[in-house]
């Protein structure tokens, strides 16, 4: 895990001072070293978090004759196998790193090499002879990669703040990016919330050369036609899934030259990954957990049970609402986007705990909910479809009680709930049936937007993500369509970004995700939908596959979504000093995103209640405004410079062919 950045210019040579400034903004991603390469048309920068071949894997790194250079963030977990194959084909390696596999694989297989990689990556390859830049991002968007097209070339980086190190780059919000954020929870690649800044789509590579700029996919999220799935036997599929998850977790634990820890949330997914590591590897396991002082959010009981059962060295951190408020500006500096939940903040504090304990790699359970159908959203869609087959049926209405046990205790609330839950946006033929309720409730944020921004959004016309669903998806199971939408929007844009990479890398910690392994995802996507969501039982096959490794009460406990105190974080007795300044009527008017009078009304409502007992919509509204105001200040006003920036040490790789031709290897 590292930070990457670079400049391609077909005009004057790239500015080395700018490149170093861009690298300086990525110091948190790579505190163990840095390096650069420059020739007349390209400059590549790298800040290193040394994990594999810690003594020999410095970057940028080149092939045998120095014609292909790479700067790389991530891991290619099958690099040992690929390296052996490439050596057999005559390639000579100078290091034992996964990075070097990339340049030789590119030489050997060209763009076909990306489909061979099993890992998580953001790659920039520079082919000197062809004067060609190739950017590539992993299948599901674990690692970030941003770029901006310029008249004479392009800037790219792991984080937007690095691109903003160039003072000539415009700093403004992108109306369509904001519109998507306030609908889908995040912009959908290639969009970002910043005008002109794009992110490379997961599963894609891009090429820039003198013929221009173009993109293509090397992998797509896809599912078989319903009823034509290759394996129909649940027992066989459970065994095959288990094998793949064990191998994925094992690879992520052993393919590291530094110790690897694991997150333990108390839920099924991280319990499975920790249990697998504990059972199938020899090294002692260190686990880390997040706890909350508010018992509504705390899962400490299950975390302790699992760590005791596995005999791990366990550490946890207890987070309060005021802790969240205190770090929130720093969280937004790292997230680089408005967010609708405070949940990333505790994860920022958790990765800090990991780092303070000497670890820089953790395995986590991220991705299982999307890949194996764990979210309530999928169960809700199942119930809504069931109801829609006979809306007049009293028996069918009772299905909601299976999702929400509170109904049994409050029968008087059922009719009103049923009207809003079942009857809105319920078209069985709608490919986004699963997601309309969420998008609808999120869009309530847009009632607060300023008139000016509303006009701009109307003109910008953000892309409708449903229109991007692939041909043939109408033949998929409805669950598969929901999974496609979830992986394309929330997983890549929020879970792996604001709640994932950014909160981990803020403290120089790499996350590894067995459930997002290439072979696990390809296998899971080909499963019959009923093996993932069996009636209303979520993650059915995962539970079945690991019933012997995880205690019954963790396997069968009702799913508890990861949540943290939201608005309540900012309206308690210890309201931080930054809050009033960021949320003042003047500051809101200056940012121009929200209507100051509406924000003032929302704040007054929150102050009366101390931020407690607000509706889901009001909680999202508060978080949207606070995080947007902080994003505006940190990036539009201050251009991404921040107190978290670190000075660069002397580079371990310094190749400058513009001033010194002898510096070729």
């Amino acid at each position: 895990m590292c930070g990457v950045c670079g400049i391609v210019s077909y005009g004057s040579p790239p500015d080395l001072i700018l490149l170093r400034r861009m690298m300086g903004r990525l110091g948190h991603r790579g505190p163990d070293g840095n390096g650069y390469y420059r020739d007349r048309h390209a400059a590549l920068g790298h800040t290193r978090l040394a994990i594999i071949d810690t003594s020999g894997g410095a970057q940028p790194l080149c092939n045998e004759d120095g014609s292909v250079w790479v700067t790389f963030n991530g891991e290619i977990f099958n690099y040992v196998e690929l390296g052996a194959e490439l050596r057999g084909l005559g390639h000579t390696f100078r290091t034992a790193s996964d990075t070097e596999v990339i340049v030789h694989a590119w030489e050997e297989w060209g763009q076909e090499c990306f489909a061979r990689f099993n890992g998580q990556w953001a790659i920039a390859l520079w082919d000197r002879r062809a004067e060609r830049l190739v950017l590539c991002r992993d299948r599901l968007g674990v690692r970030p990669l941003f770029f901006i097209r310029l008249p004479t070339g392009l800037l790219f980086a792991s984080e937007v703040k690095s691109i903003f190190a160039d003072p000539s780059v415009e700093r403004a919000f992108d109306p369509a990016g904001l519109d998507q954020t306030f609908t889908y929870w995040s912009p959908v690649a290639p969009r970002t919330v910043f005008r002109g800044i794009q992110q490379l789509e997961p599963g894609h590579y891009a090429v820039l050369d003198r013929d221009g700029f173009r993109k293509a996919s090397y992998w797509r999220i896809t599912f078989p036609e319903r009823g034509r799935e290759p394996g129909q036997d649940a027992r066989e599929n459970a065994e095959a899934l288990r094998e793949r998850i064990i191998e994925a977790a094992r690879l992520r634990f052993v393919r590291s030259d530094v110790p690897v820890g694991a997150y333990l949330s108390g839920g099924l997914d991280s319990s499975v990954t920790a249990a697998v590591i504990s059972r199938y590897t020899d090294a002692p396991l260190h686990t880390f957990s997040l706890r909350f002082s508010d018992s509504e959010f705390d899962e400490g009981r299950y975390q302790k049970k699992m760590s005791a059962m596995l005999g791990t060295q366990h550490q946890d951190i207890v987070v309060s609402a005021s802790d969240i408020a205190a770090v929130f500006p720093e969280v937004i500096w790292h997230a680089e986007t408005p967010i609708l939940r405070a949940a990333p903040a505790p994860l920022f504090l958790l990765s800090k705990l990991v780092r303070e304990n000497g670890f820089k790699v953790v395995v986590t359970g991220e991705g299982a909910d999307e890949v194996l159908a764990g979210y309530d959203l999928f169960r809700e869609a199942q119930v809504r479809l069931f109801w829609s087959r006979d809306p007049e049926s009293a028996k069918r209405t009772r299905a909601a009680e299976l999702l929400y046990p509170w109904m049994v205790r409050s029968p008087g609330r059922i009719p009103a709930f049923a009207r809003s839950f079942f009857a809105r946006h319920l078209d069985p033929g709608d490919p986004a049936l699963s997601h309309r309720p969420r998008w609808d409730s999120t869009s309530a944020i847009k009632n607060m937007l300023s008139g000016h921004l509303r006009d701009e959004i109307g003109r910008a016309r953000a892309e409708d993500v449903v229109a991007r669903m692939p041909p043939g998806s109408e033949e998929w199971d409805p669950l598969s369509r929901g999974q496609w939408l979830e992986m394309t929007t929330l997983l890549a844009g929020y879970i792996l970004a604001s709640q994932g990479d950014r909160m981990l890398m803020a403290n120089s910690v790499e996350g590894r995700f067995p459930f997002l392994d290439r072979d696990v995802v390809d296998f899971a996507n080909a499963l019959p939908a009923r093996h993932k969501l069996f009636g209303l039982e979520e993650k059915y096959l995962l539970k079945r596959a690991f019933a012997d490794l995880v205690p019954d009460d963790i396997i069968h406990r009702p799913k508890q979504p990861y949540r943290a105190p939201d608005a309540a974080s900012f309206f308690g007795a210890e309201c931080p000093s930054w809050f009033d300044e960021a949320m003042s009527r003047q500051a809101v008017a200056t940012a121009g995103v929200f209507e100051p009078s509406i924000v003032a009304g929302l704040l007054a409502k929150c102050e009366r209640s101390g931020g407690e007992n607000l509706s889901n919509t009001d909680n999202m509204r508060v978080l949207a405004v606070v995080s947007t105001q902080l994003t505006y200040k940190s990036f539009i006003v201050q251009g991404g410079s921040g107190s978290s920036e670190r000075p660069l040490s002397d580079p371990s790789v310094a190749v400058d062919l513009v001033t010194d031709d002898r510096s070729l290897p």
Partner: protein, 69 residues
């Protein structure tokens, strides 16, 4: 979908049943599964604890409904 799969699904459903739950609600739970997996639509009369208490009765119900399509 062949008979083996029908039997397998019903076996797996049996194994996952919650014996202490409200019988009518369990019938709704079973109906959600049966309709989803077998592409059938049940009537209110068929969403009944008595029907779902007997695997062979469910099998017959599915066959009847599929035949009716």
């Amino acid at each position: 979908m062949n008979r083996d799969i029908v039997e397998q699904v019903l076996r797996d459903y049996e194994a996952s049943r919650c014996p202490d739950a409200d019988p009518e609600l369990e019938a709704v739970r079973a109906a959600i599964l049966i309709e989803d997996v077998f592409d059938v639509v049940l009537s209110d009369a068929e969403i009944d604890p008595v029907v779902f208490a007997d695997t062979s009765a469910v099998e017959a119900l599915i066959a009847r409904r599929r035949g009716a399509v």
